[in-house]
Amino acid sequence: MSAEKAWDSDTVCRHQGRWIIAQLNIKEYAMYEPKEIFVNTSRCTACKTCEISCAVAHSRSGDLYGALSEKPAPKRRLYVEWVSPDENVPILCRHCEDAPCMHACISGAISRNKESVVITDSDKCIGCWTCVMVCPYGVIGRHLETHKSYRCDRCPDRETPACVSSCPTKALVYRTVETFSKDVRRDAASKILAGEGG
């Protein structure tokens, strides 16, 4: 089947695990590949700047001093954990392809937006914690004051999520899978070359 037949007008379809946006004229369709947050654990020093900037980005005031005095206190949505003996691992929502939280939700509060980000509508959330029960990454938080669950929303109002842009060591990067793997390959290649040279 030709591409013209498969995508006619204004369709947004999932194809081979990627979102493809086809608009009006098929010839103009752009392959839309969402960016992901990648973690380079070897660069993480557990300074937790990402956690703080995440909480600030999700505060009402939007700045650190305002956020500190807010009640209920703004929450971070990623967690820098430590694995013995010396590994630091920032853990964050992967916005899973077949998101278990989204399918498990008993109130239809969790959906995927057109940027492929899994979002929780807190108006619809009833605080049953089913999402907490099924998330294999353990990254869905419970807001006890509001009785709602919360999670990474990839900072919809920012070009780059707050955690990534604040990370001083570039342990967090925001790329498409394609460019990230290209970078990893280049990095590996340069290491091999450097090794040979030395």
């Binding site: 498990a104 109130s107 239809g108 619809k124 049953c128 099924v134 998330c135 353990g138």
Partner: protein
């Protein structure tokens, strides 16, 4: 003459009269399957038959409709959460009473036959109404299962001062809290020694029980109802097997569920309490599948055949059946007989896997504090996690589910499981 072109071609069938995929049942399993089918076969014609008058809705939200916190329209399923696919035809008030397997058609009660290409049974379950209680047909006796029950209960609630709930399971507790919120006095009559006996042992239920007591829910344990008394206006009271009697204007029954399989009686579909399926959710006849509460599934740890009545399980199995019915072979990984998360009276809890350990050889670790209770259950050799019960603090519960379900050798992470310090980094770098 002009009209002729709208008629089907000679000898051909109009496509909508013979959907490629026919799904009987428009709740969790049926709608999740419909959505999954549309993902794999966007052009396939999918028809869902639901016997209810309401369009598909999130069934677990009906207590919120009862208590008036949500409106019926706001709990509609299509268009919310992952249910975004267009082109799923849903027919309401369409109850299937017979299936012709060799002729590939079903009979819709009072509405003729409908042919199909492939068929999915997702007829779910209904409340189990015990037969030994006198006067149970009285007006004002409910089992909160459908949106129509919630509406009827809400109406009856207006003239109810005291409601008696028979059964101490989660569904009845949720109904009880909805009634409490409406300002009704509620008494829970539980045959077991403690509430939520399916999800935890009496010794584990202390925090939950305290929370229920604090919420002023009256609980009578070790007791069951013998009969219901009524007059022309409906229920006036309940008498119990200990000889006592209570006056009340409403009774709500929460005594488990039964699979809806009657429409298959006399058919060649294999039944063993529920509909028997293989690990690809297929029935014993070609092109026929089953999922959700009506299907018999298996427990991944013990391999036991089980049936569950949980929305989340039904969705998972329905999605799997949806893939299989389109020809994308997908093995269903089974589900825990016990799995639930919720919050009763401000006390969150998660219970999954094997949590009933009295007189067993399992290795059990319990840590109880003022506001939290944790019970972790390992296999007798201590090398695998088989169940957890968390009350109060349920942080990261999904990771424990992942460990139990994967039947993982826990090795070094065991201490983290016991101390509730487990995080995903342990799987990445452990």
């Amino acid at each position: 003459m002009l009209l002729l072109k709208y008629l089907p071609a000679k000898g051909g069938k109009m496509k909508r009269d013979c959907p490629d995929y026919l799904i009987i049942g428009g709740s969790a399993a049926g709608m999740a399957a419909a959505q999954a089918i549309k993902e794999k076969d966007p052009k396939g014609i999918v028809t869902v038959l639901s016997e209810e008058p309401d369009r598909p809705y999130f069934r677990p939200l009906i207590p919120y409709v009862l208590m008036g916190r949500k409106k019926a329209e706001s709990i509609e399923l299509l268009g919310n959460g992952p249910y975004t696919s267009a082109g799923i035809e849903v027919r309401t008030v369409a109850r299937v009473d017979q299936v012709d397997i060799s002729g590939k058609s079903v009979n819709i009660k009072g509405n003729g036959r409908l042919s199909y290409g492939k068929l999915l049974f997702a007829t779910g379950s209904r409340p189990n109404i015990p037969s030994g209680i006198e006067g149970i047909d009285a007006n004002g006796v409910f089992a909160l299962r459908k949106l129509s029950d919630a509406r009827a209960m809400a109406q009856r609630a207006e003239s109810t001062e005291h409601a008696v709930m028979l059964g101490g399971g989660l569904l009845n507790l949720k109904a009880a809290f909805a009634l409490l919120e409406l300002g009704i006095k509620v008494t829970l009559v539980v045959y077991s020694p403690e509430v939520l006996s399916q999800l935890m042992e009496p010794a584990d239920a202390g925090l939950i029980r305290n929370a229920l007591d604090k919420a002023e829910l009256k609980i009578i344990t070790g007791c069951s109802a013998k009969g219901i008394i009524s007059d022309k206006n409906g229920v006036t009271g309940v008498f119990l097997d200990d000889g006592s009697e209570m006056s009340c204007q409403m009774v709500c029954i929460g005594k488990g569920t039964r699979p809806n399989i009657e429409f298959l009686s006399g058919s060649e579909i294999a039944i063993d309490k529920g509909i028997v399926v293989d690990k690809y959710t297929a029935c014993n006849k070609p092109d026929i599948f089953a999922a959700g509460d009506v299907a018999v599934t298996f427990e991944p740890v013990t391999g036991d055949r089980i049936m569950t009545g949980l929305w989340t399980n039904a969705v998972e199995m329905g999605r799997c059946a949806g893939y299989n019915i389109t020809g994308t072979k997908t093995a269903y990984s089974g589900t825990f007989g016990i799995m639930n998360a919720t919050q009763v009276a401000d006390e969150p809890f998660v219970s999954m896997g094997i949590v009933h350990t009295k007189d067993t050889a399992y290795e059990v670790h319990v840590s109880a504090a003022k506001s939290t209770y944790r019970k972790v259950v390992f296999s007798p050799d201590g090398e695998r996690l088989v169940g957890v019960l968390f009350i109060g603090d349920i942080t990261g519960a999904g990771m424990y589910r992942y460990v139990i379900r994967g039947n993982m050798q826990i090795g070094r992470i065991k201490s983290h499981i016991m101390n509730h310090t487990l995080h995903y980094g342990h799987f990445l770098k452990g």
